[in-house]
């Protein structure tokens, strides 16, 4: 049953085959639920010219911000990029191409990509700059924009628990974009907090069929906005 042992022991194995100019999806919302070790490992491979699809672009010294510092990202597809000074500098100077995508469209484009749906109509963005140049259609009196779906050469996903079959669970709001991205990568690599023998089939968020490689990670879990009540 070695075909169903997806666990790898090193980040080198986890990212084997990654090359410059590839498209890479990276899970997470802000710094919550990002595959921290895989991001660092991707930086250390030295690949360049990447197109990264991720809701945000990390902060200056953490998450995808690390690959902005080293100028390994050519294009960023994201919904919100406000927390990163280096990102802003590269965007304004034209070094970095940015495709801002509404968050719900981004999620659905990835979901559709993983589900084999090439495009879909959505009301989001009709009549706004994000619809410019795109096909539109009126259906039952409402206007919709045709949005192409998204897939990637690699999807880097953070899970809470994984088993050797590639089944995954996610923890709290660290789930976010991770389950859709797991379905939309030609090669999906999962960095999990825990690896167990076999997850309970009744409580699996992502079935192992979508997952190619699993590595156990350790996570700093940095908090962007620590807000507490007394």
């Amino acid at each position: 049953m070695s075909g169903f042992n997806k666990i790898v022991q090193s980040y080198e194995e986890a990212l084997a085959g990654i090359e410059s100019n590839m498209t890479v999806m990276v899970g997470g919302f802000g710094l919550c639920g990002i595959p921290e070790g895989l991001i660092t490992a991707m930086r250390d491979t030295g690949v360049k010219g990447l197109t990264c699809i991720s809701n945000n672009a990390g902060v200056d010294d953490f998450g995808l911000g690390l690959l902005l510092q080293t100028k390994q990202i050519k294009k960023m597809v994201a919904s919100y990029v406000g927390e990163n000074a280096e990102f802003m500098r590269q965007m304004l100077s034209g070094e970095l191409e940015v495709e801002l995508t509404p968050q719900g469209n981004l999620a659905e484009k990835i979901r559709a990509g993983g589900a084999g749906i090439p495009a879909f109509f959505t009301a989001t963005g009709y009549g706004t700059p994000v619809a410019e140049g795109k096909e539109t259609r009126e259906i039952d009196g409402r206007h919709y924009v045709l949005e192409p779906s998204l897939t990637a050469d690699f999807a880097l996903v953070r899970a809470y628990q994984a088993d050797r079959f590639g089944n995954l669970t996610f923890r709290k709001t660290a789930m976010n974009f991770n389950p859709m991205m797991a379905t939309a990568g030609k090669i999906t690599v999962v960095e999990a907090e825990e690896i167990v023998d076999a997850l309970d089939p009744e409580f699996i968020h992502t079935p192992g069929i979508y997952v190619d490689r699993v590595i156990k990670g350790t996570f700093e879990k940095r908090i962007e906005q620590r807000t507490v009540r007394s």
């Binding site: 919550c32 406000g82 719900g104 706004t128 976010n176 507490v228």
Partner: protein, 218 residues
Amino acid sequence: MALSREQMAARVAKELKDGYYVNLGIGIPTLVANYIPEGIDVMLQSENGLLGMGAFPTEDEVDPDLINAGKQTVTTVKGASFFNSAESFAMIRGGHVDLTVLGAFEVDIQGNIASWMIPGKLVKGMGGAMDLVAGADNIIVTMMHADKYGNSKLLPLCELPLTGAGCIKKVLTDLGYFEIENGAFVLKERAPGVSVQEIREKTAGKLIAADDVPEMEV
């Protein structure tokens, strides 16, 4: 007197009904959670994947895996659920969220809204705002009536790039509560002590106001 931010939040909270699922945007809308009327249960939706958002955590409760759409640490209430981002926007796009409250730079008499981009300034992205305005049926925009230079934010036509076209019907400002009908802002309530005349002078878009517009209860 124009309404304070807290009074605006309190006025919006009067629109809440028992059993509502509600999405609150960043800024004044967030404050609405502090004014949920006695005896009413609502579930707050946070579009990063949480239904049933609770208060900020105590120091001991802080969990980096539990944040809201503003990336702040939060807690959950009894009955809460977690889900992925596609599911989250299925709730929004599919019309399952009962009330959405969000801020804006401008709205106009056609129900257009601009809230995400000022050309020439730093563009940070629209996040979920475009999906929310396109998907939700019941939306209340809460914003100051004028910008810091005194220019009306209720316009004949939005000047900034749009977040959504023809999707806004209700606007609460510090001066009044308006509904957008047939190409005009219809003044439904005015802030205590603010005259119809003053609101008329400060509203650039077409305004319809009866002589006896009631004062808001806040």
